[in-house]
């Protein structure tokens, strides 16, 4: 399943650091897939992805693809932004509860109502991707 991609004609205000472990997440996101990890012994998902399971501390994990679908739990519009985000103000950010039972915070596109059905989209900045959600 490939997520919709929205082009953004500037660089990311505060790009994430990428480690050898998180590189698969960001590489997949650039290709339109939203991944996380699941502990093999616990069977539980976690987000952000981790090189171990935070529930049983098992070291065996697997990468799994998320649907990117969920519901909008809350949101805000931030007018007073950190310096690096001046070019993006005001910013609409929110919290989405994914169908897989994970809570994620991210940029929100449009003006969806609370509890609205949401889908993950890739924001393709000129220097790399970020994820966001919009109503579906």
């Amino acid at each position: 399943m490939t997520l919709p991609i929205v082009d953004v004609a500037r660089t990311r205000p505060w790009p994430p650091r990428v480690s050898s472990f998180t590189k698969p997440f960001w590489d997949a996101l650039a290709e339109g897939r939203f991944l996380t990890t699941r502990g093999r012994t616990s069977g539980r998902l976690t987000f952000p992805p981790k090189p171990f399971c935070p529930y049983d501390w098992g070291r065996e994990i697997e990468w799994v693809e998320l649907s990117g679908r969920g519901k909008l739990y809350s949101q805000t519009v931030i007018h007073a932004v950190p310096a690096a985000f001046a070019g993006e103000a005001p910013i609409r950010n929110g919290i989405v509860d994914l169908d897989e039972g994970l809570r994620v915070a991210a940029r929100i596109l449009g003006e969806p109502a609370l509890d609205a059905a949401m889908e993950c989209v890739v924001l393709r900045y000129t220097d790399g991707p970020l994820f966001a959600f919009r109503g579906r």
């Binding site: 990311r12 205000p13 505060w14 790009p15 994430p16 650091r17 998180t22 976690t46 987000f47 952000p48 739990y73 809350s74 949101q75 805000t76 519009v77 931030i78 007018h79 007073a80 932004v81 950190p82 310096a83 690096a84 985000f85 001046a86 993006e88 910013i91 950010n93 929110g94 919290i95 509860d97 039972g101 994970l102 809570r103 994620v104 915070a105 991210a106 940029r107 609370l114 509890d115 970020l130």
Partner: protein
């Protein structure tokens, strides 16, 4: 060894702008502001400086140039210490942790008298630049900060969810700021004393929607020193004191949001910390005469009040609007004026919480005195109340 601990003295600076700009010819120096407060606080306690065996500082903001500020102050004050000296850091909980560690130093017998103190200087910092640091304290640098979440943006999302679920109105939330300003007008150390109307709060420019300028914390400088001691020392002093009756702590093991969807506005850490504090004090929330809550935004005061059992779940905003949490009401909350109007020198705010409880419980609070105040609770927190520290203090005259 553990023993009962009392708050026997205190002093605080006015809150507001104490910090000077970087190129001002005359600089405001932290140690020159804090040292006189130490002397004043010890005078209220009526104890000689030789009794002090421990100093616990709320860590200074990065803008304070003097590093190892604690040991610098021990020299400045000529204080040899047999107990401990440290600077603690726990985001918004910093001041509360400084108090907690000073209490521990006495309870464990490391010292008969300990000071919990701090000075927070940040008012001259550029807000947008300041948030480049604070945004990294309230989220995952690589998965939250990338979107520009600021500390109060999480509280704003609490407000949105709370209004959605419980039908609380903007005016009810905003009434908390009006109430806090009324309280602050009676507090000599408050940053803002000019009366504030509901229309002004509702009409203020938006900062993090739905919260506007008067529903989010100001930038504040402030300094405060508390004197804590073994109860037998307090008894021997023959002065009124506030006994530490209960203490509770809880961290939910989550940073800003729980990755497992939960009831975010329930503030489960505050519920847990309060339950432990009340149990250790042998009281219930209904026994409290007042509460001083760490609440940088109107919504936080409402949610923390509910989590501490001071108002029913979902009714906190409505009860604030109805005056139940005002001075003279059923359970006065933030009689100091709170973060919004007393001021919010963030790393010292938890100390100001205990300072207000001490003033109220020793009947030094003047025009804002809660009549016959006997039991008070104080809270502090970090993140989006992901951790909470609650103390219950009792008046002993």
């Amino acid at each position: 060894m553990t023993r009962r601990v009392a708050v026997i003295g205190g002093a605080a600076s006015p809150n507001g702008k104490l910090q000077t700009v970087a190129d001002a010819p005359l600089q405001a120096l932290e140690h020159e502001i804090l040292a006189p407060l130490v002397i004043d606080a010890m005078a209220t306690a009526g104890l000689p400086k030789e009794e002090i065996g421990a100093l616990v500082f709320a860590m200074c903001r990065p803008y304070t140039l003097q590093k190892y500020f604690a040991t610098f102050m021990a020299n400045y004050l000529r204080l040899p210490l047999k107990g401990t000296i440290m600077e603690v850091l726990g985001n918004g909980m910093t001041g509360g942790m400084a108090f907690d560690e000073a209490v521990n130093a006495v309870a464990l017998g490391h010292s008969d008298v300990a000071l919990a103190l701090g000075i927070n200087m940040e008012s001259q910092a550029n807000s947008a630049e300041h948030m480049m640091t604070t945004m990294r304290a309230v989220g995952d640098v690589d998965f939250h900060s990338i979107f520009g979440f600021t500390p109060i943006s999480w509280y704003a999302m609490d407000a949105v969810r709370y209004m959605h679920e419980f039908g609380a109105t903007r005016a009810e939330l905003a009434s908390v700021a009006v109430k806090d300003r009324r309280h602050a007008a009676l507090n000599p150390i408050a940053q803002f004393k000019k009366p504030l109307t509901l229309d002004e709060v509702l009409g203020a420019r938006p900062i993090v929607e739905p919260l506007g300028l008067y529903e989010v914390p100001p930038r504040s400088d402030g300094a405060v020193c508390l004197v804590v001691c073994a109860e037998e020392v307090a008894k021997a002093s023959a002065r009124p004191y506030a006994l530490v009756r209960g203490r509770g702590f809880f961290h939910e093991g989550a940073h800003q949001i729980n990755e497992v969807p939960n009831d975010m506005t329930a503030f489960v850490s505050a519920q847990g910390a309060a339950a432990t504090a009340y149990r250790s004090a042998g009281i219930t929330a209904a026994d409290l005469d007042l509460a001083e809550l760490y609440a940088p935004c109107t919504i936080v005061q409402v949610l923390a009040g509910e989590a501490l059992g001071l108002t029913p779940r979902g009714k906190g905003a409505a009860q604030a609007a109805a005056g139940e949490t005002s001075l003279g009401g059923r359970i006065p909350i933030c009689t100091s004026g709170g973060c919004l109007s007393r001021g919010h020198p963030a790393y010292s705010t938890g100390l100001l919480t205990i300072y207000e409880l001490w003033e109220q419980l020793t009947h030094r609070a003047g025009e804002r005195q809660v009549r016959n105040a006997r039991l008070g609770a104080g809270s502090c927190e970090l993140g989006n109340y992901n951790a909470a520290l609650v103390h219950v203090l009792e008046a002993v005259a």
